[in-house]
Amino acid sequence: MSFWYWLVSFLPFEWAAPGTMLFMKNALLAVLVITPLFGLLSTMVVESRMAFFSDALGHSAFTGMAIGALCGLSQPTWAAVIFAVVIALLFTLVRQKTRMASDTAISVFSSAAVALGIFLSTLGGQSFTKFNTLLIGDILSVAPKEIALLAVILVLLVVLWVTSFNHMMLSAVHQALADSRGIKVVWKNFLFTAAIAVVVTVTMTWVGLLVINALLVLPGAAARNIARNLSQYHLIAILGGLVCGIGGLMLSYYVGASAGASITLLLAVWFFVTLLLRGTQ
C-alpha cells in the first residue's frame, strides 16, 4: 500500500498530499479494481439479457447479509455470498427447466428475497438503519485488506473469462448451436450467474445496493452503441467504467455526494453520449 500512497502523491490534488486522506487513496485504488470487474461482467449481462436478473441477485445478496447478521456472524458478507450463489444456482435451474426468461418470474424472486431481508433485519423491532450503508454504499470505508480481496476476485474473474468466455458467449447467443458443439450450456450459465452473484455481494458494501446494477449494465450498454466487434466492445466497456469511476469519485469528493451515485450518474451521461455518437454514424 505504501507504494500506492507514494504513487498517488504525484497527483496534483489536495487529498493526494503524502500522509493525508488515506481513505480517499484507498477508495481510488478500489475503484481501479472494481470498475474493470464490472466492465467485464457488463457486456455479458447485456447480451444475456440478465440486467433485470442481476438486480434481483443484488436484492438476494442483501437478504443473505440479513440472515448472516441474524445468525450472529461477524462477517455476514460470506453468508451473503453463499446465499447469492445458491439463488444463482436455483435460478439457472428454473430458467433451464421452464425456459422462462420472464421478467415476472425474476420479479417474484426479487421481491420475495428483499421482503425476506427486510423482515429478518427488522424482526423483533430492530432498527433498519444499520443496513443503510448497504443501500447507499460507502467506497470511502474500504480498507486495504478488502482491496486485496477485490483484486483476488478480479484475477479470478479474468481467469474465468479467459477460459470460459467463448462458451458462455455462444451459450448466451444461441443455445441450440452451443449444444450441438458439445458446450455444457447449463453449467456455463451457472458459472456466469455465480460470478455475478459473488461480485455483486462482495462489492455491495462499497457500491450500494441501489446503484450496483447500474454498474453491471451501463458500461456494456454504452460500449455496445459504438463498438464494432467484441474486443472493442470490452475495451470500451472497461475504459468507460474506469474513467467514469475515477471521475465519479472525484466529483463526490468535491461536492460531498455519495460516490456510488456520482459514478452511476457519470456512466448514465456516458451512455447518452454514445447513443448520440451512434446516431451520427
Binding site: L40, T43, E47, W161, V162, T163, F165, N166, H167, M169, L170, V173, H174, A176, L177, D179, S180, R181, V186, A223, R224, A227, R228, N229, L230, S231, Q232, Y233, H234
Partner: protein, 262 residues
C-alpha cells in the same frame, strides 16, 4: 444434457450398401409429457446423399433432429456405420433454424467463428493465424468477404452460409440443416443448394435438411422423407411429391389455413 444412443444388438441391421457409411434410424419414438411426438420412425441416410425432410409444422422434424444430435431422450435406435459396417460415433455438423441474432450486438463474424472453433478468448483481439484459419473455413462457402461484418448485419443467405461454414469445421460425417432456406431469397436459395451439392461430393458426407420449399426438391434432393409423427412416405422426390400421402397432408393443411384466414 446429453443422452447416449441406446444400443440395440438384438435386431438384424438394415442392408448396407457396400463402400458407404450410413446412419440407421430404427423404430425411433419420442414422447414428451405423454404426448407422442414421433413413433416408429425408420430410415437410413447414406453418404453423399442429400435427404430432404418435409412435413407440416409440428410434424416432429425438429425433435427428429434433436434425437439424432443426442439432445433429446428417445426410444428405438440410432446407429452410425462406417463403410464396411463398423459401428461408430458420428461427427455431426448442425445448422440451426434461422437464429435471430440481436442486430445491435457488436460481434463480428470473425469473433463468433473464432469463439466456436478455438480456445482463444475472443474478447481480446483475434491473432493473425486464427484469423487466417477462420478465413479458410469461410472460403468453403465462398464467404471470405464476410469476416469483419457484424453478425447482426448479415442477410439471411449470408448468415446461413456462415453457420454452414461453422458446421463444416471440423468436417462432419453427417450434416443436418434445420430449415436452411427460410428467410433466404431465391438467388441465395440456389447458391446454398449448389453449395450443399458441392460439399457432399467434396467431403463425402450425408446431408439431411428440413424444408417447406418443394419446388427445389426435384433438382437437389436424392431422397425425400414425408414426416407427420411417423414416416408417411419416403423415396425419390418425384415419387413422394406425387404420392397420395403428400396430397392429403398438405391439402388438409391448406384447408385448415384457409379456414383460419379472415
Amino acid at each position: 444434457m446429453r443422452f447416449a444412443a441406446k444400443r440395440d444388438h438384438s435386431r438384424i441391421p438394415l442392408p448396407v450398401r457396400p463402400g458407404t457409411c450410413t446412419l440407421q434410424v430404427r423404430d425411433l419414438g419420442v414422447t414428451m409429457e405423454e404426448d407422442v411426438i414421433l413413433h416408429d420412425v425408420t430410415f437410413q441416410l447414406n453418404c453423399r446423399e442429400i435427404t430432404a425432410l418435409i412435413g407440416p409444422n409440428g410434424a416432429g422434424k425438429s425433435s427428429l433432429f434433436r434425437s439424432i444430435l443426442g439432445q433429446m431422450p428417445y426410444d428405438g435406435s440410432i446407429k452410425f456405420l462406417l463403410a464396411g459396417g463398423y459401428p461408430s460415433r458420428p461427427k455431426i455438423g448442425y445448422v440451426p433454424q434461422s437464429p435471430s441474432f440481436d442486430r445491435g450486438y457488436p460481434i463480428s463474424v470473425l469473433d463468433f467463428f473464432a469463439a466456436a472453433i478455438s480456445r482463444w478468448p475472443v474478447f481480446l483481439p483475434v491473432p493473425k493465424d486464427l484469423r487466417q484459419r477462420v478465413e479458410e473455413c469461410l472460403t468453403r462457402v465462398h464467404g471470405q468477404g464476410l469476416l469483419d461484418k457484424r453478425i447482426g448485419a448479415l442477410s439471411g443467405g449470408e448468415l446461413q452460409r456462415v453457420l454452414l461454414a461453422l458446421a463444416l469445421e471440423p468436417i462432419p460425417q453427417i450434416l443436418i440443416l434445420d430449415e436452411p432456406l427460410s428467410g433466404v431469397d431465391v438467388g441465395g436459395e440456389h447458391l446454398l443448394l449448389e453449395m450443399l451439392d458441392e460439399i457432399r461430393q467434396k467431403y463425402d458426407l450425408s446431408i439431411l435438411f428440413s424444408t417447406h420449399d418443394f419446388s427445389t426438391l426435384r433438382h437437389y434432393a436424392d431422397k425425400v422423407i414425408l414426416l407427420q409423427q411417423t414416416i408417411l412416405r419416403q423415396g425419390a422426390p418425384k415419387e413422394v411429391l406425387g404420392s397420395r400421402e403428400f396430397q392429403s397432408v398438405f391439402h388438409l393443411n391448406l384447408e385448415e389455413e384457409g379456414g383460419k384466414a379472415p
